[in-house]
Subunit: 205 residues, 2 copies
DNA sequence: ATTATATATGAACAGTTGTTAATATAAGCT
DNA sequence: AGCTTATATTAACAACTGTTCATATATAAT
């Protein structure tokens, strides 16, 4: 079956191209990661790439798509249940965010995002939507429930969510930069938890 | 005098090159802003650029240096005076930060910084040092004084400074992205003040 | 075994890149 | 005036870019 072939060796090469491209894009940016460099790292000639992708842009878009397929899945029920208990909701969120920060694959994606953020309009919009709005929505849902249960001071849930996520992002950015240069992240490794504690002490009733 | 010449027409062209380069680097990144594009925009041939700069890298480094010559000047005495009154210290800082965010020149610089942050080690180090450490130092100095005067809850001043500056940075990033696409920043224009108020309510005694 | 399909190769294309060399121009100094 | 210096131009270089071509190879389907 021709389908079998495509699923085996075919998509194997295609998958390797995407993996290599992700690394190179995140290290060199879109312009810096040339088609030839990608092909060489994969182990084929550059012309062979065009059997799998229409052009360079298509490789990039497929890689970029992966940035936003976050393995960050909390169900609506889970939010309800955790938020009723207050701090555990934030703890769970923080731990997942921290894991993403130190996950090798997600680290590459985050770098790529930062590199191309200023040069790719589509990426900017996706950043706002998937990276910001989605987290704000999830968090403010939790804060809203906490307020209903008199666990935290009354306030605008979206405002609190914004305050919470912004620091998380900043810590992530700093850690990513340090790891890029293979520097120690010791000083920052507990920053997520510090933020969590500081924040909770301030909003709790 | 040969010195006069250099000061007049000579540095005039050099200054124009730096201005054009700043814009182009911040729009297209280091690779995207080619020597020919810069020269064309200045109004000379690309070879004439080499009368003013050794190579492209030197143009970039001179531009990049401008990023960190922040017009952000609070004297030690001013810190002392303002911090003793508590919130006014944070207000002054926030207003200055907001002004930088909306200043056209600083906006270009910030974009350039974001673009090259992942690709230029020297820039990363300068970012950490000038952008982060300096602000943390300035803020924590203020928070320390506030604690001594029993204006805010006792805590680690650097920790509070970190919490404060991270949200400021995030707001700035979001506004810069919106302005890049000429989108409205209405929803975010008061975010700085909201952050200030939220933060002050949480730390004050 | 023959045919079809997927995927590889090597060579070439036209355009762009950073940089340099030879040369022209114009202004300042003596 | 003539000489020096700064700055411009034109032309070219070697290297690299994204992409396409004709062609080879290997695997799967008939």
């Amino acid at each position: 079956m021709s389908q079998n072939k495509e699923q085996n060796k075919g998509s194997q090469t295609k998958q390797k191209i995407l993996k290599v491209a992700t690394t190179l894009f995140s290290q060199l940016g879109y312009k810096g990661a040339s088609v030839r460099k990608i092909a060489k790292e994969v182990g084929i000639r550059e012309s062979a790439l065009y059997n799998h992708f229409k052009n360079k842009e298509e490789i990039f878009l497929e890689v970029a798509r992966g940035i936003f397929t976050s393995p960050f899945t909390i169900t609506h029920d889970e939010i309800q249940e955790l938020a009723k208990r207050g701090k555990p909701f934030l703890q769970k969120f923080t731990m997942q965010y921290k894991m993403l920060t130190f996950d090798k694959s997600n680290e590459s994606m985050f770098r790529l995002l930062m590199i191309e953020l200023m040069q790719n309009k589509e990426l900017r919009e996706q950043f706002m939507h998937e990276f910001h709005d989605k987290n704000i929505k999830l968090l403010s849902e939790g804060f809203f429930i906490m307020m209903q249960n008199n666990l935290i001071k009354s306030n605008d849930p979206m405002m609190i969510a914004y305050e919470f996520i912004s620091t998380m992002f900043y810590i992530r950015l700093q850690i990513t930069l340090l790891r890029f240069d293979a520097k120690s992240t010791n000083a920052l490794s507990t920053q997520f938890e510090k933020h969590l504690d500081f924040f909770w002490e301030n909003i709790k009733l």
